[in-house]
Symmetry: C2
């Protein structure tokens, strides 16, 4: 099997990630933050060490690093936890449904709330001007997908953050695809909130996400329950992160994430170089074929989208899977807005090839060979 | 170390649970329900097999078994997902803050919503009459904690379900403590919704919970995002479970849960017998000591609460931990309502000893010895 669906989740989880999860189940399996006994404290110390590492990785304060069940819950917390009555939100055409659906739901609940979708004029991704164009006086939050999960378009987050900071508007970055591939400094970049998906670019287990908040961001919780603190109160405690982490947190996945983060930090440049090499090779080979390519040549983030004009993306994906054991994603990749913007909404989406550090040249060569084969087999006259 | 905090989370996770988690990280690490390729389908088949097992275990339809991040999220979904405008909810004095805090939050949001707390008159736990007493014409949901996480009180769920079913009122059972210790048949027992905590009585990893729904229960989702289905729509799909499972689910924890469930089903009677033996022994030994006991002698669920009248529960817990390496929970165990009802709210809570299948007589003996020691050391004259 050749796995090219790493934007969905990275398939290979490094040995140390696996080991950390197993250790959690064997040695740190008490409930962190519940009870003052040694077993609970031991687990809590492990979890807090990961929180500290994440905080350092993104330039946030540890208490403002909130563990969630995934990036989707992190984005839901950022959106529903913000105070939106009478406010306006800007998002971009690159948003995943994990942003678009919460916004649409908010709109259905509250007539005083509205949102606008910034369209992309920048060649490589969303730029500040795209955002500026749709800002309103009542805009309180701007949500920017950092790297598109459809075609890898990269937003100019630093510039956007800088400009929003001047205007006192909070910037929420959806880092689902960029986390692990990008060096964040939330303070310097003017990022108010950053949502991450550890199981993607951090090669970590599924079942944990993160929302990192700047010190001046104050959210309401969206999950209510036991926090191990203020237990005689029927309202959530004020202190973060407990305020947002009701219930038992996912210690095994969190400790796995700790090792995934280390893996990424230790191999940061190698990962970037590998993805650049493979994506460049993919660009080079595909540019010779009669296919439509939706990823810019300059973009080497590892996400690559194309279509064979006379075939549905799902047909291509199925062929690759069944005939060659190659896993790619056809269809819409849970990103309605992006397909509307790319003009691929009524074409059945795109074929997405998404790479990881663990993919090889040989695998990409095989993909190219398979696609050539499919083209030769199906090409109508005139193409 | 002796671990008696199993109501918080069971410490020992069986070998097969650990193995299933590791397998998930090695072989089933694609994203289930995302993409039609073999890697995704393989993971999905594993997850769906667990869903099927859970459905069989509780007597629900598989599509109505929703995986959440934990029992707290399951309860949040059941409560916030129900349509509560102008309605009244009954809960019991045994509810955990994972029920009480969501209800209190709903009340703060919506003046037309209210809830009442049923007090316990039954000796062993909440009985139907306790519920009946506080029902109102506008009551649409009754929430019953099945086994108290503070002292093990057991509600007469079957009788309550039978009566509520006649009245067309939905019963939500918080099975956080009872799951794995109780044979559920949701249909027969008239349970509308059942929330479970796999990492407790199912000896499973932290990071997954379940909400099981009867076929006639229709909730709104509380988490919005990608579902891998209807991706060009900005509203959640109608079909369950996708409607409620936005984002990437916690496959490693879910597959671990599958093995935990098997472990419990294969050892069901042995687990019950072991807990009965150990709790009876605990009762017998403690009944000879000058302590206040909050768990009924007939109750052998494995949760045992007491106080040494002249000591704070936290002092006792700390002493056991520091001097003897015994892990118990002092304080309020995230259950404000229960402590108000037990009269332990202004006494600093209770000391809770909670057992699992993996505890031994020797460990309980050691606890008894340690407590005797503490009593002798601290007993004021007159006691």
């Amino acid at each position: 099997m050749i796995y090219f669906d790493n934007s969905s989740t990275t398939f290979v989880k490094p040995k140390n990630v696996q080991k950390a999860v197993l250790n959690a189940l064997q040695f740190f399996s008490a409930n962190p933050g519940r009870g003052g006994h040694q077993a609970s404290l031991k687990a809590a110390m492990q979890v807090e060490a990961v929180r500290e590492s994440v905080a350092q990785h993104v330039g946030a304060s540890p208490e403002n690093v909130v563990f969630t069940s995934g990036c989707t819950e992190a984005l839901n917390l950022a959106i529903f936890g913000s105070h939106m009555r009478g406010r306006h939100v800007v998002c971009t055409c690159n948003e995943h449904n994990a942003v678009a659906r919460p916004l649409e739901h908010l709109k259905s609940l509250d007539e005083s709330f509205s949102y606008s979708v910034a369209q992309q004029t920048g060649k490589l991704g969303i730029v500040w001007q795209d955002i500026e164009r749709v800002l309103r006086p009542e805009t309180s939050l701007v949500i920017v997908n950092h790297i598109s999960n459809v075609n890898g378009d990269i937003a100019d987050v630093a510039k956007i953050g800088e400009n929003l900071q001047k205007r006192g508007i909070t910037l929420l970055v959806d880092g689902a695809q960029s986390g692990g591939h990008f060096e964040y400094d939330m303070k310097k970049m003017g990022i108010g909130m950053l949502a991450l998906a550890p199981h993607k670019g951090f090669y970590s287990p599924q079942g944990v996400g993160v929302l990192c908040m700047a010190d001046d961001v104050h959210l309401s919780p969206i999950r209510f329950g036991g926090t191990g603190t203020n237990s005689m109160e029927l309202v959530q405690p004020e202190t973060s992160p407990e305020r947002f982490e009701s219930g038992t947190i996912a210690t095994p996945a969190i400790l796995g994430f700790g090792e995934g983060l280390k893996f990424v930090e230790q191999n940061f440049d190698n990962i970037a170089a590998k993805l650049e090499d493979l994506t460049t090779f993919l660009h080079y080979e595909f540019s010779k074929l009669p296919v439509e390519i939706y990823t810019k040549t300059e973009n080497t983030s590892g996400v690559f989208a194309f279509n064979i004009p006379w075939l549905d993306s799902a047909e291509v994906a199925n062929y690759l899977n069944e005939k060659w054991g190659i896993c790619v994603r056809g269809g819409f990749q849970c990103a309605a807005l992006k397909h509307l913007s790319l003009g691929t909404a009524d074409k059945g989406g795109v074929v997405r090839v998404s790479l990881s550090y663990f993919n090889t040249y040989q695998e990409v060569e095989r993909l190219v060979f398979a696609i050539k084969n499919l083209i030769n087999k199906t090409k109508p006259s005139g193409h």
